[in-house]
Amino acid sequence: MARVVITGGGWAGCAAALAARQAGADEVVVLERSDQLLGTGLVGGIMRNNGRFTAAEEMIAMGAGKLFELTDRMARHRNMEFPGHKHASLYDVPLMEPAVRKLLLEHGVELWLQARVTGLALEAGSIASVSLENGTSIDGDVFVDSTGSFGPQSLCTEYGNGCVMCVLRCPTFGPRVSLTGLAGIPEKQGRKADGTIGAMSGSCEFGKDGLAPAIVRELEEKGVAIIPIPKTVQKEDTLATKACQQYAAREFSDNVVLLDTGRVKLMTTHIPLDQLRLIPGLENVRYDDPYSGAIGNSMRYMALSPRDDAMRVLGPVGNLFCGGEKAGLLVGHTEAMVTGALAGHNAVRQLAGREMLVLPASLACGDAIRYVRERMLTDDGMRVKYTFSGSVYFTRMKELGLYSADAAQIHARVEAAGLTGVMARAVAPAAVAA
């Protein structure tokens, strides 16, 4: 009986697990280091903004839309706007993780939480098993590395402002691991515009209880509140350090931009608490994520796997795929669901002895996967972050005519590519030559 083992239960790992089950894998196990799924998706919540709408609809049309449909259902705000971003939806951050857990279990995925992978065994050029911190060994036929690229503490220290106690909670559950790294495959590190390593996460969260009631009302009604920063408040220039370059616009440095994700999402990497509290209506706030948001934020893009466009990790190991931030400088939940689902689907294709699914350039998902891989081969390309929702890649989407906010048009493109429902169907084993 074939078993797909997915290390890392963030959005990419969850998407890989669902895709692998839909493709017909008998057993799919997700090994998650912490006590909850979603990883960086435990904060955040922005879906369908700008080109992410196109990517989400492409995935739905290809039959890999279950997580997109769930985030749609769990949206607190739909079709809302904030500076530079159209037709966004904001999922309910506190309610999302239990819902995803339920969905995965209903689809026959086995979840292991507090299951930190610290070793692997190779056999004849393939991973035969991985082992956990407590010594338990898990055999598998094919493996997906969706372990992310954040921290851990030593790298947040070396390239950021130290451990700031983010939602990933390395001190409690152990630092991030990497299946690619454990297999001895060299990884790459993303760079900031100035050439230094990593990028700082781009938002903080706090509860509504510290906010002025008028701002809470505005947030709950519109999903967004934009509050000008008084001229007397000196704000550090945090724009260049952010992981999410699509939020590096002037509106985000002259104002505080708050979004309603159940909690309050503050669209800045970090700001000293005493400066934040000088902003009218925010006099009583405190950070909930990262707890030390006054000091800094988590560092990302520390360990990227070399990969091909089918999400196979390149190197001496034959049965390893990757998704999410491991797959490159693609920022965001949507992006992780795209690369993760393709990794999970192709993992099953490999088990069945079938050709890999590579998404065509006529789809935004296919173009992004190929374009970002090629850009990451250059020094300049490693200094940029890519996302469907803004910055250089959204510009490219518009230039190539890939961006669309018309679901019917997007579904028609997928149909024209012959890929409607492709990831919803079980992969038939290749015929054995007589």
Binding site: E133, P152, Q153, S154, C156, T157, E158, Y159, N161, G162, C163, C170, P171, G174, P175, D274, S292, I295, G296
Partner: protein
């Protein structure tokens, strides 16, 4: 060269007892290796003992970039933020 202990340290003290040259001690926030004493277990063990003992892979070869940055983090060892009592709270002269 020497080994160092990174911010992953969970203060379990396992390394301290394993070190054959007593180079490891408890620092203000975490355990630290005295680089002047550490011999990377040369002549004692084939693999540095602390690396084997550490449950969170915090004992690693010394890196200049890490040491420099860790020593200069603004939030650690910075002067305290001091807030003076407001004028209204002071007793009348």
């Amino acid at each position: 060269m020497a080994y160092m202990i990174t911010a992953e340290c969970i203060n379990c003290s396992a390394c301290e007892y394993e070190c054959p040259v007593r180079a490891i001690s408890g620092g203000p926030n975490q355990f630290v290796i005295d680089a002047a004493v550490c011999v990377e277990c040369d002549g004692h063990f084939p693999v540095p003992r602390c690396t084997n003992a550490c449950p969170v892979n915090a004992c690693v070869p010394w890196r200049a970039s890490y040491a420099a940055r860790a020593g200069s983090l603004a939030a650690r060892g910075a002067p305290p933020v001091r807030l003076a009592p407001s004028a209204a709270s002071r007793p009348a002269p």
